[in-house]
Amino acid sequence: MLRTSLFLISLLLSSVFCLENINEEFEEHLSIKSLRDGRVTSSFSFTTLLRDAIPRDPRTLAFDDDISQHYTLFPLSLGQILRQYAITELHLTLNAGKWNYDTWGYPDEPDVGVGAELRAWMAGDSISSIDERWQGVRNALAGLFCASLGSLDEQRTTSPRLSFPPEGALPDWGLPHELRHASHASEHVCTENLTPFLKLLPCKSLSGLATLLNPHRIFDADWHGIGLHVLWRPEGVEVRLNVQLVSDPLRISAQGKQDWSFHSLFDRKVEKACPVASSTRVSVELPNSGVYRVYPEPQEIKDGKAYYNLKNNNEAWNIGTMWPTDFEYRICHAALSPPDPALVPFSVTRNLLGPTQDRGELSIVLTNNQQDTLQLLYLETMPWIVQFYLHTIRVHSDNVPRDDLVSNISYVLPVPHARPATFESVLTLPGRSTLTFSMDVAKAFLRYTEHPPDAQRGWDLPPAIFTPLNQSLNEPMSLGSRVYTPSLLVDLATPDFSMPYNVIIFTCSVMAFIFGSVFNVLTRKFIVVRLDPPRNQSASRAEKRLENTDSDTSNELNTSKSGVH
């Protein structure tokens, strides 16, 4: 009896399940690629599509009755935040490491800036309502992901004009849409961020590709990052959760081979597919040359990629690639073989030069690896502690001054203690050239309460972002893939917040006191001057003599020699 009723209930549930599934669709995908330097990049993406849903119109925020939220696959906790603050598009990434564009190429997910980066597109009829919702959403996400996103406050928030176009569509409500962007380079990503991240997945990490997300291995990878992307397309609202990592099999195995497999990279295998996923696919990019073996036998090979569908199989999957020989790093023999060409059209290095704590120079070196001229959109979102002197911008192309190569400068001035600077401009890189952009900066002197804990570490500055502008005659201008530079660390004049600091303060007070007294003694002389009226002649004469002893021009005789004059 019991068994029958259980069966019936489960049947009922599964039918509801199937019904709901029509509106919600969950797909998971993993793409793995061996890199030139022996490392392996794996990019997980988990996409949930909520069909026919539209973001909340901010004008309905005044009314409490929002539509009821019933989801089966779509993460409810996230949906509530999105509707509460009427977010149209949202991107959150938490990354660690430095993406090496030259040898790794462009990442699958372009947002690879170090630390935390959050940006949102919101509609609104007033700036204050947008700022309020921006504050709300970053606090809510901070709670959801256990990350210090609350510190992405006004001092880090900017609204760049061009660099972050919406990835999806923006609903036409007759309201302007605004972008809010903030990044925090010193935020570290760790297990406490991954756990809530996995909870947003319908199968958690119990089945499907998410099984592979082993924190011990993810957070040991050379580069790792997790991301959340919410965007709206006319077919519905899409939530994409992604994990990207670059592992080093040569470091993990210490065998000198670049072989990898699920087991070697993640210490796990995919035991079973996620039942609610409409597709579970793995793609492996096949190396261009050399002898290697991909196992198990791919189901499909297309465009240099091997595809596996993990959905219809109940075996444990351990996809991998093997090489017969040891991996060897490329070396360059003087002029015989030039170093490997970079995998991206242009390379960037960004440095803050200057050994002092009050001035410095922001220096950017861009190398165009192509024949064609490149146009780059350059964005700096700089906290006010580093202030630019725009009149000192110097642009050199192959050591020749070329001020014409920088154009379309837009600059939002920083407000000390309140707002960061936003600097956007277009740089033109002639083909096969190196462009040097430098600008003098001033480093701010902080109030002593503004120093963070571990004050002597300095301040992390967010990465700069370069976006190629693709311009062709018959098409409108479009943006290429964003390139993030590594973050910078700036030393500001910092007091020594420790016991000796107090000693220094105390000593300075004593010195000031002693100086005052000594100066007093050296410059002034105290003598007795009687002010009461003279009673007789002799008294007045005596007084006169006393006064005269002080005047320098006097040659009057003095009977005593004074000590220090």
Partner: protein, 621 residues
Amino acid sequence: MDGQGLRLQAFLRRFFRPAGDPNLARINRRRTMFSFIARRMTVLKLALFIAGYVWIFSVPSSQLDRGVYFDENALQPGQVNAYWNWKEVHDADHFLGELEILRDSNATSEQRSQFIMNEFLRIGLPASTQNYEFTGLSKGLNGTNVYAILRSPRVSGAEATIISASWISRVNEGDGTLNLRGVATVLALSRFVKQYSLWARDIIFIIGDGYMEGMQAWLSSYHGVTQSNLRAQPLELTSGVVWTALNIDYPGHSLSHLGIFHEGLNGRLPNQDLLNSFQYISRRTGVPVVLYDHKDELDLGWLPDNIRNHPEIKTYAAQARNLWRHVRYQASGRGSGVHGLFHQYRIDAFTIFAVPAAGPHGFHSLGRIIESTLRTTNNLLERLHASFFFYLLTSFDRFVKIGNYLPSVILISVAMMFGGLQVWVDAAWMERRLDKHEEGSTGMVWVRRRRPVLEAVSIVLGTHILGAACFFFLSHKWYQSLPFTSPLLWVAAYILPLAVPRFFPQNITDNIAPLSLVLKAFNLCLSSTVISIISVLNFSLAACLAVALGIPLSVASSSSNGAMGMVRYTMYIVLGFGWLLLDETRKQMIWDWDILGVWLLPFLCVVYYPLSLQAALVCII
């Protein structure tokens, strides 16, 4: 008890606020005090001098120093397992073999750097070379640095640590002994550290060409500092802010002790915590540590046995030897090695010097110690700070605190200041026999007289301008190319000031004080100020100045006998400018100033020589 307290209170009140007009009482009290000091000025001065010199010479004693301790808790030295093992030793031996082949084939620095760069690339580290060339005085000094950067996993690359070795070892201050084993250690280390993901910051490996100059070129480029006489290639690879650096020097075949060399350019010192961590780790690993390369005991054979074997004397001798070495490095401003170049960029650095010996240690112990020290600096959350920059190491594990060494020099400087003020006051007064017919005569009276301040100030300024001119000649290109320039300059510096008395003829009157007295007062006060200021920046230099100038300047006096005056004049000039005739010293100082920017040469010319010249002029005016 209570009654006693009240009585004391009453007494104090009577003393400080006597009956009557309090202002009058205060003025009188002050007068009494000043005249008390003034009357005993000579005794006081002498006491200060004696106390100062005794203090300076007792700094090496074991009574003034204390054991080292850690101030930065984040360091946690020696808390990790070292993984460096025989496989890495094998790597180092392999690299050493390759480097020896290069050495034997007389490879150029270009070939050498190419080879080292390829080794870095083979290990899997991005590597590059940097060509540099010095122009101007040291024309033709060039070379190629090679460096590699470990982009540590998981970190943003905003911070970095440096491990460096220069091609030429510091043996005899860079006499040309090659640092092959040091370079091999760096190569093996670079391969070793790449296997781990625990590094909190990037690690930069640099092999600097030459002894000091290569690293100077590299560091200038890295920090974007331009040096007018240096043409250095911009660095292709960069990383973040550097907090600490280790420089490895392993010239011998094996090592018995590890030596610490820590003095930087212009008297800078690294944070003491770094040195403390290293010596702690090294001793825990089983390798004895020494300061510098002082592994043998000082030979005191000339002393009687019972004095020589007294523990206090033995300690004093050993510590005095260490301190004397320290004073030479610090006062010369040159530092004691390649690590000294880092300090100007706020990088705490020191050299680990493998003291050459027949054994028993080698790559194995050295590697483990460096690994552990690297792990310790890896623990830092922030720059090494606190005020652990003021210390004198008397031994590798003992140091003198600033409070225990600074007063010695300050006392001498105070004595000079008092002397100067006394001369200044004396110059204003003259004792005169009283005319018979004046009433109330007591025989002698004091008369005021004018002090020729303007003349004295112009002489002081003139001497400094002359010093600056000497510096200009010394640092000029043709100074080196022409013969006999140094004796000529010396003679010029000797003869030119002799014209001063002609410009300031002395009219001996009772109304005007002699110029020599006022000049001496200015000279003493200025020297005292210079010494006290230098004492915080470069204690060794201040101590040398105090010893060289303290008594000599105080005893300068004009002589009625012309010949005697000239003898004294000559002695002061020799004291102030004698170093010019020491060929090696002068060349070294010019090189240091030109290549490394060491301040000693300009200091000697613009400050020290004029100070003794002023004293010399006191004798002949």
